[in-house]
């Protein structure tokens, strides 16, 4: 590592002021600022941003650093060879990772229900009878109550004709289960009205010659009998013991427009509880064990009670044990440490509801299962920064300087926001952590890094909407949404409309779409409604950021008293969010009388670039101090 005194002594560079870059490596983004260190202070020339490569604080960050630097240098009209020095943070002290696991699961051991929402089931009403293969219909006897099961190869005309013939023969056809999307077509062609459930994918899995009930609600309504265990009991003549067994089926059918329940001799549906395990939280003075099934609230109460934490362990062989050891393994691999040696400094838990396909379902039935999402913060080996500096020095002609703590830099950078005073409190909301910092009366810095921020929010959105696509979930988090219900207009979240002069693509029609600031609209899977998306997105942000920002402020304020401050400046990528700063402002003002707002670094960068800017300021101050002493 080159020393400060060597900087600027390279041939040919003596007679002009130094060109310095500040580089801030975040969990998701690497930011750079370039400035000329003039006699009267830094003159900023440009800034740049790039995706962080590898885990924050490791040697794999170099690619991200290089591209952020290149962007900042291009913006400032310079090249890499012009750069005299690069300021980095002093050791990356914390890293975060997250994991999620479901703690309950719905399993059907033998098919007993079909509960899905075909777009257009046929007919309406309730019917109970015995399931029979379609080919068996002509052999049924008069007065027999049957529910034919109609496979794909049977056309709607043939199905309707056979049902009509059967009805004419006195057979009581009570309903039908159909594989094709032909429910309405069949219903329109038969005498009388029966409920018909269509689009049943795995029709071959429907148990035959078993008592069954079919229910279809009229358009705009939901089923009312099959989602009630006693309703099912009355229809299928169940004993109290059998009714108890069927209860999870009824619950799984709530909210459907159509459903079929079949009574099988050995059939069972169970909500299996996966052993979630206990979490052992080691504080400095006390330890505590919390059962995950008690929920995130209980867990977080224990975490807060035991502050500051020494370490956290999960019960081996349980869901939480697996989650924590996964986080340790991943970070251990990235930092070259043994997973056992990694200590967890903070943990943040959120209860989640995860839509999951029911194992053993017939028509891709979905059940909402309980889960828990965890974000953990671990202390990393400080030597990692030294390794990164060595790597950068080999690649770049400029000197690499470690110019101060991240929290110090963020305070210095945030202080360039017009209108803030020197006693500012900063909350940095990034992808991996929520950090808070302030100068105390003696000028020392009080700071904290807490687990759970933007990435956890994305994880919650991804799981709740069942997207299984982190990129799309990230877009859901960042973009307002709309619904396309016309070729030329969209309905926005507030109910207003936007009209287009060109027709929208058929790919978007009838769907909920995301509206990125630039580029084309992004369609979401057709099952996701606009109101649902909007509620899930807001809820995820509220669940993660509101408690974490309050937690962070409590830790850095004397006596944990939030009422002792008046202003908070929000910085970091998540402070750029289109709704989060307002959400936090509302809570902090209403509950604690705190005015908070997004920073505007250097009066022009918005809440971004605070640390990169602060690093340059920090270095410049140190340099001046040194010159003043000489």
């Amino acid at each position: 590592m080159r020393r400060d005194k060597d900087i600027g002594k390279r041939p040919g560079k003596k007679d002009r002021p130094l060109l310095a870059a500040g580089v801030d490596i975040g969990n998701a983004t690497t930011e750079a600022a370039v400035a000329v260190l003039a006699d009267d202070g830094p003159v900023y020339k440009g800034s740049g941003m790039s995706q962080t490569t590898g885990i924050k604080g490791t040697c794999r960050n170099t690619a991200g650093i290089m591209s952020a630097l290149a962007a900042a240098l291009t913006a400032s009209g310079h090249s890499l060879t012009d750069l005299d020095l690069i300021c980095l943070n002093d050791a990356v002290p914390v890293m975060g990772d997250l994991s999620m696991s479901t703690i309950s699961e719905t399993v059907i051991t033998e098919s007993t229900m079909i509960g899905h929402d075909p777009s257009t089931p046929g007919g309406a009403g309730l019917g109970s009878g015995v399931t029979v293969p379609f080919s068996h219909l002509p052999h049924c006897t008069a007065a027999e109550q049957v529910i034919p099961v109609i496979p794909r190869r049977v056309s709607f005309e043939a199905a309707a004709e056979a049902i009509n013939t059967a009805i004419a023969r006195g057979i009581k056809v009570q309903g039908a289960v159909v594989q094709n999307n032909d429910g309405v077509l069949i219903a329109n062609r038969i005498a009388g009205q029966i409920p018909i459930v269509d689009e049943v994918g795995r029709i071959e899995a429907v148990p035959l010659h078993m008592p069954a009930v079919v229910e279809v609600a009229p358009p705009g309504r939901r089923i009312s009998r099959l989602c009630n265990p006693y309703g099912i009991a009355a229809l299928l003549d169940l004993s109290p013991e059998e009714t108890k067994k069927i209860a999870p089926v009824a619950v799984a059918l709530i909210g459907n427009r159509s459903a079929v329940v079949i009574k099988t001799p050995t059939g069972d549906i169970a909500q299996r509880r996966i052993p979630a395990g206990k979490l052992t939280i080691l504080g400095r003075r006390y330890d505590c064990r919390v059962d995950i099934t008690e929920g995130a609230e209980k867990m977080m109460a224990a975490v807060e009670r035991l502050q500051p934490l020494k370490n956290v362990f999960g019960e081996p062989g349980s869901a939480v044990g697996g989650m924590l050891s996964g986080i340790r393994r991943k970070l251990g691999r990235a930092t070259g440490q043994s997973p056992d040696g990694i200590s967890v400094g903070d943990i943040f838990a959120v209860d989640v509801v995860v839509p999951q396909k029911i194992a053993g379902g017939i028509a891709d039935e979905i059940r909402l299962n309980k889960g828990i999402a965890l974000a953990a913060m671990v202390e990393t080996d400080k030597s990692m920064t030294a390794a990164l500096v060595r790597r950068l020095e080999k690649m770049l002609p400029a000197s690499i300087v470690v110019a101060g703590l991240e929290t110090h830099s963020s305070l210095l950078g945030a202080a360039t926001t017009p209108g803030v005073d020197r006693r500012l409190v900063v909350v940095d909301m990034g992808a991996g952590s929520v950090d808070a910092a302030r100068f105390d009366r003696s000028g020392d810095i009080r700071s904290v890094h807490l687990a759970g921020a933007g990435d956890l929010t994305t994880l919650l959105i991804d799981s709740r909407l069942g997207l299984s696509d982190r990129g799309l979930a990230e877009a859901v988090k960042k973009c307002p949404a709309a619904r396309v219900n016309d070729l030329f207009q969209i309905v926005l979240e507030d109910g207003s409309r936007r009209v287009f002069d060109k027709p929208l693509s058929g790919r978007l029609f009838g769907k909920t779409v995301l509206l990125p600031p630039e580029g084309e609209m992004l369609p979401l899977p057709r099952r996701i409604r606009l109101e649902q998306l909007s509620a899930v997105r807001k809820d995820a942000k509220k669940k993660v950021f509101v408690p974490n920002v309050i937690r962070a402020l409590k830790r850095i304020l004397p006596g944990g008293n939030l009422r002792s401050i008046e202003n908070v400046v929000l910085i970091g990528g998540c402070a750029e969010d289109f709704e989060l700063p307002e959400m936090l402002s509302e809570v902090l003002l209403n509950d604690f009388g705190i005015i908070c707002g997004s920073g505007n670094i250097r009066g022009r960068m918005g809440p971004r670039n605070a640390v990169a800017t602060g690093l340059i300021i920090s270095f410049d101050r140190q340099r001046r101090k040194k010159h003043a002493h000489l």
């Binding site: 257009t120 309405v184 077509l185 070729l487 693509s505 058929g506 029609f509 009838g510 769907k511």
Partner: protein, 131 residues
């Protein structure tokens, strides 16, 4: 003008299918009507405006007759054309060439015509001719 109205839907606003009576596109029309019916949207068929009208002109004519502004032109030589009244005449919403038409494709055109009326997501695949 009405030639083969569904007795249930005659006289009420619906999707209009323009097809020459007795022509050999009858199978496609049956499938298109099934697609529309399954979505519970009314439809009716009309004769083409002239004997020489091609598929595109038939669809254009049909959508102007429809209270929903959605029309389908059907001619064996030209295939199936689905048009929305607000779209440019030469750029229909769906156009499937005659050689690619079959009952399955025709049924999806019917489904999508109805979904354009209802504002629900369309059935899309590479071969169903969407713009």
């Amino acid at each position: 003008m009405h030639t083969s109205d569904n007795p249930v839907t005659a006289g009420i606003p619906g999707i209009v299918i323009c097809v020459r009576q007795g022509g050999d596109a009858a199978d496609w029309v049956t499938a298109i009507r099934a697609g529309i019916e399954e979505e519970q949207v009314p439809c009716r068929t009309v004769d083409p405006p002239s004997g020489s009208a091609v598929g595109l002109e038939m669809a254009q004519w049909a959508c102007r007759q429809s209270a929903f502004g959605i029309g389908i032109g059907c001619r064996v030589k030209d295939g199936i054309v689905l048009q929305h009244v607000k779209l440019p005449a030469d750029r229909p919403f769906v156009r499937i060439a005659g050689r690619l038409c079959n009952a399955h494709a025709a049924r999806i055109v019917g489904t999508n015509a109805a979904r354009l009326v209802k504002g629900t997501a369309l059935e899309l695949s590479k071969d169903n001719g969407h713009r």
